[in-house]
C-alpha cells in the first residue's frame, strides 16, 4: 500500500491526463492502469462548460484528483493556481509544478521551495515536482511536503533514469514517499525506478503518445508492480554480500 498524507492507495502508478488523443482514450488508459491518483493541469480546466474534455471524464471515475500548477513560473503564481484549484475541485491535494524554463521545462528549485512552504501552511497536501537534488528534497520534506517528486529525466523526454545516482541518495534519505516523475519512457524505466525503492512513479507522455495508450497503461501497471515486488523481495545484487558457506567462512568460524 502506498501511503501519502492520510490516504492509502493500492496502486503505485500515478498518471498524467494531458496529451491523449481523446477524452475517451484517457479514461480507458486510466482504467487499464488501475491508477488511483491522476494529475490534471488547472490551466486546462474549462469550468464554465457543463461537460469538458478533462475534468468531466475524470470525475466520472473513482480516482483522487491531483490538480497541478503547470504554467506557473513563480511561487506567487503557483500559490494562486493552487487556491483556484482547491476551490474548483474541492481538494487540498496539489502537485506543485513551477518550471519557468520554457525549453526543457526544468523545475525552479528556489520558487518551488518557497511555494511549498506557503502551501503547506495554507493546508495543502503538497507533492512537489523537483530536480533530482538530494538536499532540495530534504528541504522540501522539512517544510512539510507529503512526498517529493524528483525527475528521472526531462519532462516528455522518454530517456529513463538519467538521474539514477541522485535518486538513490534521495530514496535512501527520504522520510516521505519518493515518486519518480518525468522522463520515464518505457515500462522497464518504471520497473527500474521501483526496484530502486521509489514509492511510486508518475507517467504521462509514454502512455498518452503511444499508439495504443490503453495497452501501454496496463504494461506500466504491471512493470510498477513487478519493480516494487522485486524491491520488496530484495534484489540479488543487494543481498549477495553474505555468502552462505565457503572455505573462508569455515576459516572465520574456526578463529
Amino acid at each position: 500500500m502506498l501511503r501519502i498524507a492520510d490516504k492509502t492507495f493500492n496502486s503505485r502508478l500515478l498518471l498524467g491526463s494531458g496529451k491523449f488523443a481523446s477524452p475517451q482514450l484517457m479514461q480507458q488508459a486510466v482504467a487499464a492502469s488501475n491508477c488511483q491518483l491522476v494529475t490534471l493541469a488547472l490551466k486546462r480546466l474549462e469550468l464554465d462548460k457543463p461537460q469538458d474534455d478533462l475534468l468531466s471524464p475524470l470525475k466520472a471515475m473513482n480516482v483522487q484528483l491531483l490538480p497541478n500548477t503547470s504554467g506557473a513560473k513563480t511561487a506567487k503564481e503557483a500559490v494562486f493556481a493552487a487556491e483556484l484549484a482547491r476551490e474548483a475541485l474541492q481538494t487540498h491535494w496539489l502537485k506543485l509544478e513551477i518550471h519557468p524554463d520554457a525549453r526543457y521545462l526544468m523545475p525552479d528549485p528556489i520558487e518551488t521551495l518557497l511555494a511549498a512552504e506557503q502551501l503547506v501552511k495554507r493546508g495543502f497536501v503538497v507533492l512537489p515536482y523537483c530536480s533530482a537534488d538530494p538536499v532540495l528534497c530534504k528541504r522540501l520534506e522539512q517544510v512539510g511536503c507529503a512526498a517529493v517528486m524528483p525527475l528521472g529525466a526531462a519532462i516528455g523526454s522518454n530517456q529513463g533514469l538519467q538521474t539514477r545516482a541522485m535518486l538513490e541518495i534521495i530514496i535512501e534519505q527520504a522520510t516521505v514517499p519518493v515518486i519518480i516523475d518525468a522522463g520515464l519512457g518505457a515500462p522497464s524505466h518504471a520497473a527500474a525506478a521501483m526496484e530502486l525503492g521509489a514509492a511510486a512513479v508518475l507517467v504521462n507522455t509514454a502512455i498518452a503518445s503511444s499508439d495504443n495508450p490503453v495497452a501501454m497503461a496496463h504494461a506500466f501497471a504491471l512493470a510498477v508492480e513487478a519493480g516494487h515486488s522485486a524491491f520488496t523481495a530484495g534484489l540479488a545484487h543487494h543481498n549477495n554480500q553474505a555468502i552462505a558457506s565457503s572455505p573462508f567462512t569455515d576459516f572465520l568460524a574456526a578463529l
Binding site: 494531458g18 496529451k19 491523449f20 488523443a21 481523446s22 477524452p23 493541469a41 488547472l42 490551466k43 486546462r44 480546466l45 474549462e46 474534455d53 504554467g71 506557473a72 513560473k73 513563480t74 506567487k76 503564481e77 494562486f80 493556481a81 483556484l84 519557468p100 524554463d101 520554457a102 525549453r103 526543457y104 516528455g156 523526454s157 522518454n158 507522455t205 498518452a208 503518445s209
Partner: protein, 383 residues
C-alpha cells in the same frame, strides 16, 4: 566552407548585431551545397545544430521528405502529445500607415477602413466565444497614432474577460510598451519579420515605420526583455529565397531562446495569398517545400510551437497538422468586424479553409488528435 555563423553570447547588441554580420549571398549559395549523405546523417542526429537544419532545408533533402516527416511526427507527439490547440484571430483595425506591396491593408489600397470601438470589440469577442474558441489572436494594421499602445490598453481589459489566452500581432513597440501590455493581459506577441533579406525587405516595404528593418528585427529582443510568456516569429514565404530566410530565422530563434529562456517560442510560416492588392508571388514555395520547411524546424527545435493558418487549404492542413503542428486557427475572419459587427467588409487576405471551429475539431478527432480549447489562465505571466 561558409558555415552558418555561430550564436554569439553577446547580449547588449541584441540579435540585430548578429544579423548584420550575415552575408545573404553566401548563405544562399551554401544552402544548396549539401549531399544526400549529409542529409542522412542529419536525419539520424538527436540534437540538431544550425548546420544540420541547413542540410535538411536543402534541395538534397527533398527526396527524404517521407523520412523527415516521420521523424517530425514522432517528435511532435513526444512534445505535444496527440493534441492540437485551437485559436481564432480578432482583427481590430485595418488602418495602416505602411505601404507593403503584397498586403491588402496597405496605405494606398482603396479599401474601407475601420477600427473597432471598445463596444464593437466586445461584440466580436462574444461572437468568437460563441464558436467555442477560448484563445484569441488580436490583429491590426500598423497605425501608431490611431491604433497604438493607448488603444490596445483600452480594449485589452474587455478582451481579457472573454479569453483564457490573448495573443497580439500588431506593429513592433518599445520595451516599455511591451511591459504595459504584459500587465494589461497580453500572453504572447507575434512579430513576423516577413524577410531577413535587407534588399528584398526594402523593395516590399516602401513607406511607413515598417520600412525600418532594424526596428522590426530588434523587436523580439524587446518583447523578451519585457518578459512576455510567448514570442512568435515567422517569415512570409514567397518574398525571396525561403531557405536563406529560414536559416536566419532559426538563428534568431536560437539566439532568443538562450537570452530569454523563460519565454516560449512559436513559429508561423505563412505563404503569400492573393489579396485585394493583387499581389504576385516572386519566389513561390511549393507544397512539398513548405512541408520540408515545417518538418525540418520540428527536428531542429522539438519544443517550438508551430501554427498553420487558414491561408492553407483544408486538405493541406489535414495532412500537415498531424506531422508537426501544435496550433491552428479555425473559423477565421480576416477583417475588422468580420464575425459579427460587419461581416461583409474586405479581407486582409483570402481564406482557404472555411470550416467552422466545430468542424475543424471533429476532423481532428477523426485523425486521432484532441482539440485543446483552453491551456492557459489569465493570472499566469503577469508578474
Amino acid at each position: 566552407m561558409i558555415a552558418v555563423a555561430d550564436i554569439t553570447t553577446s547580449y547588449d547588441g541584441g540579435f540585430i548585431a548578429q544579423w548584420q554580420h550575415q552575408n545573404w549571398q553566401q548563405l544562399q549559395l551554401y544552402s544548396r551545397s549539401f549531399s544526400a549523405i549529409q542529409v542522412q546523417h542529419a536525419l539520424q542526429k538527436q540534437q540538431l545544430n544550425l548546420s544540420d537544419l541547413q542540410t535538411l532545408l536543402s534541395p538534397a533533402a527533398a527526396p527524404f521528405l517521407p523520412q523527415l516527416a516521420n521523424k517530425a511526427q514522432l517528435l511532435t507527439r513526444q512534445r505535444f502529445g496527440r493534441t492540437v490547440q485551437l485559436f481564432a484571430p480578432l482583427y481590430l483595425s485595418n488602418l495602416c500607415a505602411n505601404e507593403c506591396t503584397y498586403c491588402g491593408f496597405s496605405l494606398s489600397q482603396k479599401v474601407k477602413r475601420r477600427t473597432l470601438t471598445t463596444a464593437e470589440v466586445e461584440q466580436e469577442c462574444r461572437a468568437i466565444k460563441a464558436m467555442g474558441i477560448d484563445q484569441v489572436l488580436l490583429v491590426s494594421g500598423e497605425h501608431e497614432r490611431k491604433v497604438g499602445i493607448d488603444y490596445f490598453c483600452q480594449i485589452l481589459p474587455v478582451v481579457r474577460r472573454h479569453f483564457s489566452q490573448v495573443q497580439l500581432e500588431v506593429q513592433p513597440l518599445s520595451t516599455d510598451d511591451y511591459r504595459r501590455l504584459k500587465q494589461a493581459g497580453v500572453d504572447a506577441v507575434m512579430l513576423y519579420q516577413e524577410t531577413y533579406n535587407q534588399l528584398a525587405y526594402q523593395q516590399y516595404h516602401l513607406k511607413g515605420k515598417k520600412s525600418d528593418i532594424h526596428w522590426r528585427i530588434d523587436a523580439p529582443d524587446r518583447v523578451g526583455r519585457a518578459g512576455i510568456d510567448k514570442i512568435g516569429l515567422g517569415i512570409l514565404l514567397g518574398l525571396t529565397d525561403w531557405r536563406t530566410d529560414a536559416i536566419i530565422l532559426a538563428q534568431h530563434i536560437r539566439y532568443l531562446q538562450k537570452h530569454y529562456w523563460q519565454s516560449r517560442f512559436s513559429l508561423s510560416v505563412p505563404r503569400i495569398r492573393p489579396c485585394s492588392g493583387g499581389a504576385t508571388v516572386a519566389n513561390p514555395i511549393s507544397d512539398k517545400e513548405l512541408i520540408q520547411l515545417i518538418c525540418a524546424f520540428r527536428l531542429f527545435a522539438p519544443e517550438l510551437e508551430i501554427s498553420l493558418s487558414t491561408r492553407e487549404s483544408a486538405q493541406f492542413r489535414q495532412h500537415v497538422v498531424p506531422l508537426a503542428i501544435s496550433s491552428i486557427s479555425a473559423g477565421s475572419k480576416t477583417q475588422p468586424g468580420g464575425y459579427s459587427v460587419e461581416p461583409e467588409n474586405l479581407e486582409q487576405f483570402s481564406i482557404d479553409d472555411n470550416r467552422s471551429p466545430q468542424q475543424v475539431a471533429e476532423a481532428l478527432l477523426r485523425q486521432g488528435l484532441q482539440p485543446v480549447w483552453k491551456d492557459w489562465e489569465p493570472f499566469l505571466g503577469r508578474a
